[in-house]
Symmetry: C2
Subunit: 491 residues, 2 copies
């Protein structure tokens, strides 16, 4: 594998695009805006899915599956929802192809037009709430705690692998509750679950907060979010959890009989994370040599590369490598022994560096003589010679150490790129000079938010939940604010 | 839960439709032909997925993900393939909605017409082989062993839950090989993997065979299949694996450099099973009281129901129940303790009978006195009193016993419903009287096959791989045959 990756300082955006392809995570397909997730990228996504799915189940949720298609009339029932998604909907209008009569090839059969057009789901609130009407009659049927793993389509005009694609994979939770309080508690809980996953598995620190009104999900009364900071100083929304009030229950007439026998509308939440998380993972940890994957999500945590000049050496090295692989696997470490004879060790070193495998172990004839292994860490690019009696403990220990180091580095980067400012001058200076999160007072109006966005491209990422509630004056209008909010340019 | 299930003998088809809904597996949605897979149904599907996915990985396959949409021009590249699927394609023609100018509501924006229509994938050979062209250059890139878990859409006019739906979930394997021999070996291997799963996890015996030319997948040179027999004497195709020759490689120009430096087309296979397996599972084992789920796929293998008249009794019973739950879980048994006070024991008994939970344990005050448990098997509907010292071993043993019993029963049903006939008269008599598989001589022509199909609705399910290769005469034309083939009416 040739090292021809653009560096981050040269062109961060180009570095990202090249890296995703060169590390075999994903590539563009022949279909505008739709990506192919390659086996290596999908293996990481599967690890993410497995952990998230476990967390959802531990918090009482069950999986189900709802239709890909949503009749146009359903989609239109919740007004702000359709406004939010109408401009990017893929629409199915026909259900058959046929041979053109003039022999020019295959055409859409004009006689097979659907009575009602179907929208390819951009999100499933409408089809799911149409179903919940049948599932909810009494307080005994609540809460409904359901999650779906699915593909969704939003017809984006400008797409980038993982970050913004016309089709993407995600999970969407949709819950129904008897009371407003319970629904809010659920929405908050799922924000915490997401933060737990992103911080402890992806090693990406996040700020928990709520969105301003203009940044809320179409149809939500409150949008909880987790915001991460990428290495170019731009923020990335890593997950959202919405308190939907009774909007969808009213649009789809979902009522329940209370214990007292009254009919009331149900309270709702929805929450989701997507393959966009892959983009956050890549952009938080990776470097100019390639990917850096945290051990908890690495398909291979350790790769063993044999060094040899002849068959005899290969056999001797292989024996030790296989024994080590066995011992590490017994400790729950995912180890690959790359014994391919089609590639040289140097090529393999580059390949695994590009693919971000946390630990690389090389074994050569010298090591056999000395009873040692060469252990290289991907995160620090450092190498060490480890003796046979310490190798298993060292590698097992490195799993935690690397995971922690990546998280600590990311926290430190964020700390260095979070700035409190008290004037709009400072705001613009900091944004220009180093980006990152800017903590500033805001008067709470959409007008001010819009002005800042138009003039600087920075948006309010969130009103942090654990932010200081100090009094202050808006950096634009000087009007009183209730506390600082976080601005940043964002993906 | 009221017992109002139509019996199998009254109306098998109605029994199936009611059962799927009453047991909370799935229901029809507001979208024509598309189903909602409910949490209980999805939990069973997840167990199937997990086992299949493990088997695919153990045989060297990796997962990946390809676009939902296929440009019409790709789709048309392999002639027999497009012929096979053109009549049932959902077609995306537009990418935006807007408010109608006359205020009549939301309409499809006529200005947002796609330059080229997109087909919602009915199967992914074309988009995948368009991608493989980029992935395959040399023999070193082969074999490519890839699987995808996805939703697909085939616009069926008459649909039934799980058995035939416009959208369904499935996995589709797509492999590329350097030689014809390897590709055929792969296609055969996957048929065996499917048979292994269906027999050992679903407890459904299958016949392995190949399809006749007219029943092959559109674009295949050979279709391997596994065929199961349902309780109404109709066959169900449970999985197929296709040897595709070089058809798709030629259509999409996928060539590789051999070791000798020659350019050759790649050899292909594809193979899939779908949520249709859920239908096979239901129809093979279930009875007039509801579902019967084999232990290996049951989300809950055991349910414990407490019997009590007051809080004191409840507490005492609960303590024993929780202890048992813990002990059984330690043995790897999936146990639910249903301590809901909103439902009576009788209601719970009916519910778990309907849902096919393999073992039900009841504990009441009498049991506490005697140190016993009442253990009920769902498969035999028998009950037994088991003492405390034997309960764990008994229940653990029942898991295997029930799994084996279900399989044995299904084999026995199939044996009793497989008939050898030597005349067309006999053929029609048997088909009418008891259905099932009919083993008969056939002259190998599509004309004869068509005639039998038109006259009796029976099709050739497969040419069994381990069928007797005896000589004989076709039951229709009297011409020589090379061996018996299996006929049946089929789902």
């Amino acid at each position: 594998m040739a090292k021809n990756l653009t560096t981050r300082s040269e062109d961060y955006s180009k570095w990202y695009n090249e890296l995703v392809v060169q590390a075999d995570l994903a590539e563009n397909s022949g279909v505008r805006g739709c990506m192919v997730i390659k086996p290596y990228g999908y293996a990481i996504w599967e690890k993410m899915q497995a952990e998230l799915d476990r967390m959802f189940k531990e918090t009482g949720h069950e999986n189900a599956y709802f239709p890909l298609f949503i009749p146009k009339s359903y989609f239109s029932k919740e007004a702000s929802h359709v406004d939010g998604f109408a401009k990017e909907c893929a629409v199915v209008t026909h259900y058959r192809l046929k041979n053109a009569e003039d022999g020019s090839g295959i055409i859409v059969d004009p006689d097979a037009k659907l009575e009602e057009e179907l929208i390819v789901r951009p999100t499933s609130e409408t089809i799911i709430w149409d179903t919940y009407r049948k599932w909810v009659q009494s307080y005994r049927d609540l809460p409904l705690l359901i999650n779906q793993w699915a593909n969704v389509v939003r017809w984006e005009m400008r797409t980038r692998l993982f970050l913004r694609t016309a089709e993407f994979l995600w999970q969407e939770g949709h819950t129904a509750h008897a009371t407003e309080k319970e629904a809010i508690a659920e929405a908050e809980q799922m924000m915490h679950v997401y933060a737990d996953f992103v911080e402890n598995y992806m090693a990406v620190p996040v700020i928990k907060g709520v969105k301003t009104e203009s940044e809320r999900f179409a149809g939500a009364l409150e949008t909880y979010c987790i915001e991460a900071l990428m290495q170019d100083g731009k923020a990335l929304q890593a997950g959202t959890s919405h308190f939907l009030g009774q909007n969808f229950a009213k649009a789809f007439d979902v009522k329940f009989a209370t214990k007292e026998g009254k009919q009331e509308y149900v309270w709702a939440t929805s929450w989701g994370v997507s393959t966009r998380l892959m983009g956050a993972l890549v952009m938080t940890h990776s470097d100019d040599n390639g990917l850096v994957i945290p051990p908890k999500l690495a398909p291979n945590q350790v790769v063993i590369v044999p060094i040899y000049r002849n068959d005899e050496q290969f056999d001797a090295v292989s024996e030790v490598a296989k024994e080590l692989q066995k011992e590490l696997r017994a400790q729950g470490v995912r180890v690959k022994f790359d014994d391919r004879d089609t590639q040289k060790p140097g090529w393999k070193f580059n390949e695994y560096e590009m693919k971000g495998v946390p630990v690389r172990i090389a074994i050569g004839p010298k090591d056999l003589e000395n009873g040692t292994f060469e252990v290289a860490r991907r995160d620090t690019l450092s190498k060490e010679i480890i003796s046979k009696d310490k190798i298993v403990a060292t590698v097992v220990g490195l799993m935690d150490e690397i995971q922690t180091n990546l998280y600590t580095k990311a926290v430190s980067y964020r700390t260095n790129h979070t700035t409190e400012v008290d004037t709009y001058e400072q705001f613009k200076e900091v944004l220009e000079a180093k980006g990152g999160f800017i903590s500033a007072h805001w008067d709470g109006t959409t007008e001010t938010e819009e002005q800042i966005k138009n003039e600087t491209k920075a948006t309010i990422r969130c009103i942090p939940l654990d932010g200081k509630k100090e009094a202050g004056s808006c950096i634009i209008t000087g009007k009183p604010s209730k506390g600082r909010v976080l601005f940043a340019k964002a993906y």
